[in-house]
Amino acid sequence: MARIGVFICHCGENIGRTVDCAAVAQESAKLPGVVVSLDYKYMCSDPGQQMIKNAIAEQKLTGVVVAACSPRMHETTFRRAAAEAGLNPYLLEMANLREHCSWVHEDRPIATGKAVDLVRVMVEKVKRNRALYPIQVNVEPTAMVVGGGIAGIQAALDIAAGGKKVILVEKSPSIGGHMARLSETFPTLDCSQCILTPRMVEAASHPNITLMTYSEVEAVDGFIGNFEVTIRKKARYVDPAKCTGCGSCYTKCPQKKIPSEFDALLGKRSAIYTPFPQAVPNKPVIDAEHCTMLTKGKCGVCKKICPRDAINYEDKDELVKVKVGAIVLATGFELWDHSKYGEYGGGRLVDVIDGFQFERLASASGPTAGEIRRPSDGQVPHTVVFIQCCGSRDEKQGMAYCSKICCMYTAKHAMLYRHKVHDGRAVVFYMDIRAAGKGYDEFTRRAIESDGAEYVRGRVSRIYRRADGKLIVRGADTLAGRPVSIEADLVVLADAVVPRKGGEKLAQMCGVGYDTNGFYSEAHPKLRPVETAAAGVFLAGACQAPKDIPDTVAQASACAAKVLGLFAAPKLEREPIVARVNQNLCVHCRACINTCPYGATQDREIKDRQGNVVKVVAEVNEGLCQGCGTCVAICRSNAIDLDGFTDEQIFAEIATLE
């Protein structure tokens, strides 16, 4: 006979205000099988938990329903308490009276009635629960970090420092990401490359880190602790083992007019190239699209010149399989393409540039050696207009969200320009100044108060190029209540930070969700900011949301802590929510085998004593099964069931709703 205990939580006023908890407890007491029914102010508090433990011991309960908050909040708390009192933790269920009832309804009688329903359903379910035992799985103590920007570098270094192996996968020829392209960085104005390159070098030389640049993730199989990843190493046409990075090849390559991605298309590079002088690894690759040897079979200069015979035109992509226990996604961001803004010239005005282009103009290693010169004619601009929120906070043509970093980098740009061009005029159009970090507001104020940037509060409506070459910027000064028109020589758009194009593919491979904009979703916006819905996959940096360097680094280190925590034990306990086959009922139609997304359903031969196969049936590999239940729904012989969500339990729930 079932002996069920029901515990109704008031959550202070959170539930109690709209749900009459005492009444729910009284109603629940009348349900068949219920032997105790109590309500209490805070069930998750120590006395609350003690109440449950006492009841389990004194009343010899066979099942418990805690009617409180969402199981996503406290299910583990209460299951642990049950276990401490000697009850199998899987004999406890939660009814969600807070998130699904008291917080979403106002009418007290209606909410109370619904609360009773929710309890009834769970009482009927829990009567049919079975004792379950966690599943142990092995953990492969190697992590893969995808993306070699500052986020990926930091996460890799911290995991390596914790004594575990890391594979750092970067799709471009060098690690460094966007930070390597920045001139100086807010809020301290220190040189970006000066603080970044030591870390790049450290990552490359750390014995625990394997760098895989010019590589991309092709497939991810398996699950937490046991991922199997296929990585495509793209053909470099340069053997990194032989190459010393002497650079003779790229100085001699005749294809020199290729716009450099690293320089935001303002500079040029050759067909065999390293993206920038401090690249790590400092070994070139051949860009197969532009090398005339690879496209037309004509040239071969680099092979002739190379003192180490490192060039190999026959090089092919290579697929490598690795086993890892955890994955960190750190694939970063892109800038929004402002050619969608017809009113700002639709991308056709060459002197209307984006933030990265300005960074490269301001950078000592950039195409103008750090002098601010405009792209059209190389002149030093006398008036530069900076436009914030370009493509951000624009639900019509751009992104509805705030990109978070552009207020700061625009202030930095205005400052850098004023430091470099003393008689120049810097005008910043802004809507709000969002500078909520340590030293951030001081930084933007400095741009205005000491560095002479003219801040104008208002959005710009139009930019066009007058016949005399001046860019006419029509904006508004909403504080003064007037339209303003500025004659500019250069316009810098603070384009929105957007997710990488095609980033959904990687997310889907890993089972990670992404929001409507394409940023990867964390498991909880406040309390689990680096975990994802996929166990064992973590997020660092701007792939999760727009972020500056300090936030990126903090999140990357948090990822490392999570990974090291996971690797601390050799075995991992997993929820025992898995499917089971009843061999007597299975007719081996293989429907389940064909549908299981994890390949967890397999053939099993049943043999007699002599070892002859008498029957083949399906079997579930607990290690692989993730408990989705697809096989259960597909099996026409009712031969599979799912622990924790059995047909019996669900039919009981439905029946209770009658």
């Binding site: 906070r393 959005r459 139009r462 508004a476 209540g481």
Partner: protein, 186 residues
Amino acid sequence: MSHTQQSELGARIAEQTGMNVLECYQCGKCTAGCPMAKYMDLTPSQVMRLCQMSDEGAKEQVLRSGAIWTCAGCLTCTQRCPKQLDPAAAMDVLRELSNREKMTSPQRRKILAFHKAFLTTVRKTGRMSEFPLVRRYKISSRDFFSDVLLAPLMVAKGKLGFKAHKIKGRSQIKTIFQTCADLARK
């Protein structure tokens, strides 16, 4: 179940156009692009702002402004508003109200006079013709002398219709005007 609380003007705009003025975040892009803004006593974004406020002073300021009459209805603001609002349509609602509540700015009397002269011509004949319109406008606006030099030229070019075109369905038109006027009074 929305908890939005609209001002009187905001509610009227919502009713007539479906727009929620509270969505305006005062970016000023409408003002920035408005060709007429420099002739306005309130900028388009200020007009939007005042419609968000529920005090009587705000309502007065908007309905007595010259700005609402200075708007040319060019839709530049609407086209570019990042919040997909329609300030041009808000202006329509406000003008109608300003006229009905007899609050029209004296500075923009000429514009109102022109519109009224136009509609009177249409009400009487069913169509607009330049000469009757101009005559009526000049009398009511007392703006007799501007453009007098243009008139003979227009005549020479065959561009100034002297005679009113009278359509057959004039009584229908009168009824339409009357019904709409009655509706407005409600």
